[in-house]
């Protein structure tokens, strides 16, 4: 069984507990164990960088060092956490001075960063480590006819610059396809949802959410699949606000892709944390025959 250190980040503790559960449950089906990183700390979201980039990097490095101590590769389901971890890992390795400085701080916590592990987003585990073929093979309940809008958002593809991946990625579509569902042509799938603005520039954030919901609806999606708790909260919880602001009538369910995957794998809804949505996902259950396991 392949094991990874799971970094839940602050949001997966409660706000996105369903993402946590569905991630653990679905990966288990593929013989992958996500073991929560012992004594992790908040990675600072983006906020730390506002104040001090070095501090932000140190906080992340502490988590990486913890995972290294366990000898496990690092997996984050939150895109922001992932981005922080990915880039800190990269920056430190590229900059010996930074490396030295950070290790000097980590010493205080009996830790050292060696740069020996890989950093993954949970979707990488499905897209690259497990792969669509294996997913297909394990799907017991193909979600035939379910139209899913794959929402990449920003940070699982950016600011990395590997070839076309950041402008024309396909891995999310491939995963949805492997579940037996149909990925819709979701043109705005890479556009920012504005999550980080909801507190600071509400007007902009709501417009950004509107654009996404509108495009998902036009593309015929039954549900939006996300791979980030911030996106999920933003797209889902602010639908009412968007409707009020723009006089629209969105009722678009927004689920974690792991939850949808869970359905395809025949896992019980409960185990996937389904039920805690603010926009009901009920319509999609009536639409696809979901054979639930126990």
């Amino acid at each position: 069984m392949k094991k990874y250190a799971l970094f839940p980040g602050c949001s997966l503790e409660k706000m996105a507990a369903s993402y946590y559960r569905s991630s653990v449950e679905t990966t288990k089906k593929f013989g992958v164990e996500l073991q929560e990183l012992e004594d992790w700390n908040c990675c600072g979201a983006t906020t730390y960088s506002y104040i001090d980039e070095l501090l932000a990097n140190t906080l992340v490095a502490r988590n990486l060092a913890l995972a290294e101590k366990e000898g496990l590769d690092f997996v984050a389901p939150c895109s922001a956490c992932y981005k922080n971890a990915y880039f800190t890992n990269k920056y430190i390795k590229e900059d010996p001075d930074l490396w030295e400085h950070i290790n000097y701080a980590l010493e205080q916590d009996d830790l050292q960063f060696h740069g020996s592990i890989e950093v993954y987003h949970i979707i990488d585990i499905f897209a690259k480590e497990i792969g669509p073929e294996e997913i297909k093979a394990k799907v017991t309940n193909p979600l035939n006819g379910l139209k899913v809008a794959p929402y990449y958002g920003c940070q699982i593809v950016r600011p990395r610059k590997n070839g076309e991946e950041f402008e024309n990625p396909q891995f999310f579509e491939e995963i949805i396809d492997a579940m037996g569902a149909e990925p819709v042509d979701f043109a705005e799938r890479l556009r920012c949802c504005g999550a980080s603005l909801i507190m600071t520039n509400r007007q902009a954030a709501l417009e950004m959410v509107r654009v996404l919901l509108n495009n998902a609806l036009n593309s015929g999606a039954d549900v939006i699949a996300t791979a980030c708790p911030l996106c999920q909260v933003n797209l889902e919880c602010y639908q009412t606000a968007v409707n009020e602001e723009f006089g629209t009538d969105f009722k678009m369910p927004v689920l974690y892709f792991t939850q949808i995957m869970g359905l395809a794998l025949g896992l019980p809804r409960k185990q996937l944390g389904i039920g805690s949505e603010l926009v009901s996902a009920a319509p999609i259950f009536s639409q696809v025959m979901v054979k639930e396991g126990k």
Binding site: Q108, F166, M199, V211
Partner: protein
């Protein structure tokens, strides 16, 4: 060379080399602003902000809301033909303004950031219920009602924790932070 560094140098110095080319290499093509999902709401487009930095218009840059409104989506960064990390520049300006306490008063971003950082320095983790009031005071009444409404709904669905969690060796953790910068110590 003892000449005082210009504002654009100061901003460049705030970024590690891994963050792409210096702002000076901007060709003012507007790809960033054409890409930016928030551009419409900013008082200066990202391109103009870069131009203003290069022109050392420090006061005007700091007074702008652009860098606080940047959603860190990095779309401009990956597209910039001069390989400038525009999102990184936005962070650099944020840091600069926080250190100099020179952001404009009516912005929520800085207060929110500081509150967030303090909580983490205290417990090692973030906690939404404490955070909420620190930014909500600045909202319009209508927004406040909605926000409270959302929070209550989430609380009911069990999606907001009742008590903050904290990490084990918090002392070590705080020592570690002190080795980087002295903030967080006083709270």
């Amino acid at each position: 060379m003892s000449a005082k560094p210009t504002f654009s140098h100061e901003i460049s110095n705030l970024m590690y080399k891994s963050h792409g080319n210096p702002t000076k290499s901007c060709i003012q093509c507007g790809t960033c602003a054409g890409t930016c999902p928030v551009a419409e709401y900013m008082d200066q487009t990202p391109r103009r902000l870069i131009g203003m930095i290069n022109a050392n218009l420090k006061e005007e840059v700091l007074a702008s809301n652009t860098y606080w409104f940047c959603a860190s989506c990095y779309h401009c960064t990956v597209r910039c033909p001069s390989q400038i990390d525009i999102a990184g520049v936005m962070y650099a300006v944020k840091r600069y303004s926080i250190w100099n306490k020179s952001y404009s008063e009516d912005l929520v971003g800085p207060a929110f950031s500081e509150a967030f950082v303090k909580i983490i320095a205290r417990s090692g983790r973030s906690y939404e219920p404490i955070l909420a009031p620190t930014y909500m005071f600045s909202m319009e009444p209508k927004e406040f009602v909605q926000e409270a409404f959302n929070a209550t709904k989430m609380m009911l669905k069990g999606r907001i924790p009742v008590l903050p969690t904290r990490i084990k060796h918090i002392k070590n953790f705080q020592e570690m932070i002190r080795r980087i910068i002295p903030i967080g110590g006083e709270s």
